[in-house]
Symmetry: C2
Subunit: 245 residues, 2 copies
């Protein structure tokens, strides 16, 4: 048996998310369909590093699967890309040890969130960036962002639907980069709760328009209450950028 680790990029616009769901077009579903075809109908389960929601993109999602086919790495890339739809691209394939697990071996993840700040609506960014043309105080946002670094209980920044018990996570880096008319939030940590990146970005944007002060962030964290934080920023600005092992 061989274990294969793949890194993929996908445009999330036309997917109901990463994870398989009945009667919906999902990234996992498309990949398992192709792999099962390659294995003469034998069902092949893939294991992703984690889910992404509907409309959320990936530049470096990782999954693994087990196979008795013995293709080399280039052959895997070619075979998969030939059969996968154009909104998924396999960037690399690697034969790994059977102890490797895309989800459980992950040390850290990095997400990028794109905010388009231009006045005019941009039709090319409508599925790829969150349009927020309200005049942002980037300096205040950078101040706010520093409070997230380190180890905290992120209950205030996770969906109230979240059923995870341990909500303590460590954010190891968080920066805001300006590029053309976009701001890119780059956030890296050892784990993220459901909707955590989108709620953090939504809250920092509220600091950007003066609705909140940077100094409010520690209180919001301490409250451990979803209602204290800002709105959940929409999915189309979010990219799973890299999984670190």
């Amino acid at each position: 048996m061989n274990r294969v680790k793949c890194i993929i990029s996908y445009d999330g616009s036309e997917f109901a998310g990463f994870q398989v769901q009945p009667n919906k077009r999902t990234v996992q579903g498309e990949i398992e369909k192709v792999l099962s075809r390659m294995h003469k109908g034998e069902f092949i389960r893939i294991h992703g590093s984690g889910r992404t929601d509907a409309g959320v993109h990936a530049k470096g999602q990782v999954f693994h699967f087990d196979t008795d086919l013995s293709l080399d790495e280039k052959q895997w890339i070619r075979a998969l890309n030939t059969q996968l739809p154009e909104d998924i691209s396999v960037l690399s394939a690697e034969l790994v040890d059977s102890t490797f697990h895309a989800r459980f071996s992950a040390q850290e993840k990095e997400y990028h969130y794109y905010v388009y700040t231009g006045t005019n609506r941009n039709p090319f960014l409508r599925k790829y960036s969150h349009h927020y043309p309200y005049g942002l105080d980037v300096e205040a946002m950078v101040k706010a962002q520093h409070y997230f670094l380190g180890t905290h209980d992120f209950t205030s920044f996770s969906s109230a639907k979240s059923e995870v018990e341990d909500r303590v996570r460590t954010i190891s880096s968080f920066e805001i980069v300006e590029e053309h008319e976009q701001l890119i939030f780059k956030i890296r940590g050892n784990g993220f709760l459901y909707n955590m990146v989108r709620i953090i970005v939504g809250t920092v944007l509220e600091v950007g328009i003066g609705k909140r002060k940077p100094e409010d962030i520690p209180e919001i964290i301490q409250a451990k209450e979803r209602a204290k934080a800002g709105k959940t920023a929409p999915g189309q600005g979010l990219y799973l950028y890299k999984v670190y092992y």
Copy 2:
């Protein structure tokens, strides 16, 4: 009566082109629908600077229309953008003299054509750039491109379906810019025949992979025969960038 000139940007992916066609979603159709609604059901015809094909994009398409409404320029932008679908954006609206005509007053047009040269397929560019990962000799392409400058009969570079009689056009500038993993062909001239930009780009790409020599271009132009030129590059890489008046 007021004449209004609008500059718009659109993502062509989900349109059957600019021009109205029965039972198809077109840019003109969407705009006329909104304008007619604003005029209480009176049909308002818009006049574009020219057509764009299915899948072709625009960053600066221009149209005009006549109206007895007296909105100012900001009000026109707001009213239209509120009602138009998200893949069309009105960038500017201007009250113009009744002698202005979006098509007949145009002096020059500029098109940009995007070619993505990276090895890995990029899901985010599939509708916005032509993937051509075959290793390009950019120096040879730049040489080839110089032969297009000036005034020529471009019969070889127009669709055989073209029924225009006078196929002499002047290209005033043509450059190739490298940006990240994309090449951008920027071409400006006093008029373009049907498919002309796409056939020119397709032919220059064939020079890039060594299938043709830069010195072949003058012969191809002189032949006045569509079959002598290269393939028509696909629509999704093409952008109507600007119309000059």
